[in-house]
Amino acid sequence: MKRRIKLIVGISVLLLIIILCFKINTRMNINRRIERSAQLLPSFKFLTLDNVVFSTKDLKKYNQKVIINFFSPSCEHCQYMAKQYLKNKELLKGVTILMITISDSNELAKFNKDYQLKFVNNIILLRDTKFQFFNIFETTTVPSFFVYKNKILVHKIIGETKIENLLN
C-alpha cells in the first residue's frame, strides 16, 4: 500500500514538473517573440469610446511620439496618472497618449468624465475588448507605459511614474 502511494506521489510530482517546464518554456518563447516585436510599434486594433475601431494606421494623423498607457479605471495609480496628464497637458502637447483598458465602456466613460480627460486633446481612450494587450505588449500590470518615438520603443515603464520620465 505504502509502495503504491509512493509511486502515485512520485508520478504526480514528475508530471507536475514536466507540465510546469513545458508551460514555462512555451511562455518564455512567446514573451521573447513579443519583446522583439514590441521594439517597433506593433499593429493593434482597439475600440474607442464610441465603439469605432482604432488601429495603428489611424496613428498617422497624430504625433510622432506615442505613449501607450495600459490602465484600469479602478486603479489608484492610474487615476493619479490621469490627474497628472490633465495637470501637465501643456507639457504633453507634442505627444499622443493611447490609454488602453480592458474595462467596459461605462466604466471608461465614467473615468473620462471624472478625470476630465476630454480637456487633454491628445489622449485617446481605447478598450481592449478581446484581451489582446498581453499578447502584444507582454504585460498585464497597470499602469504600464510604452513610449514610442518614430515607431521605435524608447521607454518601457511598469508602474506609476513621473510625467518627466515619459517625456525624456
Partner: protein
C-alpha cells in the same frame, strides 16, 4: 542522547523565539532602514514628492499589519516544510514524530534569520538608491554574480534562492535528521533532497510559471 535533547525542547518556546527574532529584525529595518530619507532617495526618480509622502504615510499605517503577519506566515512556512520532510521520512521508511521534524525545521530556520540579518546589515551600511538593486538584493546568492538589470525577471527568484544560507540550511537539516534517526550523512541528505529538494524545485518552477503568466 541527541534524540532526547531534541525531544525535550519546548516547541512553543522555540517558535516564539524565532518569531521574536524576525519581529526585532522587522522593527530594526523599519526604524533604521526605511526612513523618510530612504524613501525620498530611492523613489526620487520615479515618483513626485507628494506621492512619496503619501507612500510613507500609507506604509506607516500598515506597519502593524506587517508585524502581525510575520508570525502567521512563519508558522505556515514551518508547518509546510515540516510536513514535506515528514512525508519524505515516512516514504524512506523512517519512523519519526511530526513534532520532532517541526523542531528540526524551526532550528534550521536560524540560518534564514542569519540571512535576513546579513541583508539588513548590508543594506544599512552599503546604501544603494537604485530601487531594482534594493528590491532584488540577496546576500551571498548567485544573483550577485549577475547584473540584475540584465537578467530576465523570471530568473531573479531562482538565482536569489541559490545562496550560501540555503546551503547552510540544508546542512543543518541533514545534520539534525542524521542525528535524530541515526543514519549516515548521505542517507540523511537523500531524504532531504528527495523531499525538501524536489519541493523547492517545484516551488521555483511554480513561481516562474506565475510570474510569466501574470507579469
Amino acid at each position: 542522547m541527541f534524540y532526547r535533547n531534541l525531544n525535550e525542547l519546548n516547541i512553543k518556546l522555540l517558535f516564539i523565539l524565532v518569531s521574536l527574532l524576525y519581529l526585532t529584525l522587522a522593527f530594526l529595518t523599519n526604524t533604521f532602514l526605511f526612513t523618510k530619507q530612504f524613501y525620498f532617495e530611492v523613489f526620487a526618480n520615479k515618483f513626485t514628492g507628494d506621492r512619496i509622502t503619501e507612500m510613507i504615510e500609507y506604509s506607516n499605517k500598515l506597519i502593524w499589519v506587517g508585524y502581525f503577519c510575520i508570525p502567521l506566515f512563519l508558522i505556515l512556512k514551518l508547518l509546510i516544510i515540516a510536513l514535506i520532510l515528514f512525508t519524505g521520512l515516512e516514504f524512506g521508511g523512517y519512523r519519526i514524530k511530526y513534532s520532532l521534524v517541526l523542531k528540526i525545521v524551526i532550528l534550521a530556520e536560524s540560518m534564514m534569520i542569519l540571512m535576513a540579518f546579513s541583508k539588513f546589515t548590508y543594506l544599512l551600511y552599503f546604501k544603494s538608491t537604485d530601487f531594482e538593486i534594493l528590491k532584488n538584493f540577496y546576500p551571498f546568492s548567485l544573483i550577485s554574480l549577475f547584473q540584475i538589470k540584465s537578467i530576465p525577471y523570471y530568473f531573479v527568484y531562482p538565482l536569489q534562492l541559490f545562496n550560501l544560507f540555503e546551503v547552510g540550511y540544508w546542512i543543518i537539516l541533514v545534520f539534525l535528521i542524521k542525528k535524530t534517526i541515526c543514519v549516515t550523512f548521505l542517507d540523511s541528505f537523500k531524504v532531504i533532497a528527495s523531499s525538501y529538494g524536489i519541493s523547492m524545485f517545484v516551488w521555483i518552477l511554480f513561481v516562474m510559471f506565475i510570474q510569466l503568466q501574470f507579469s
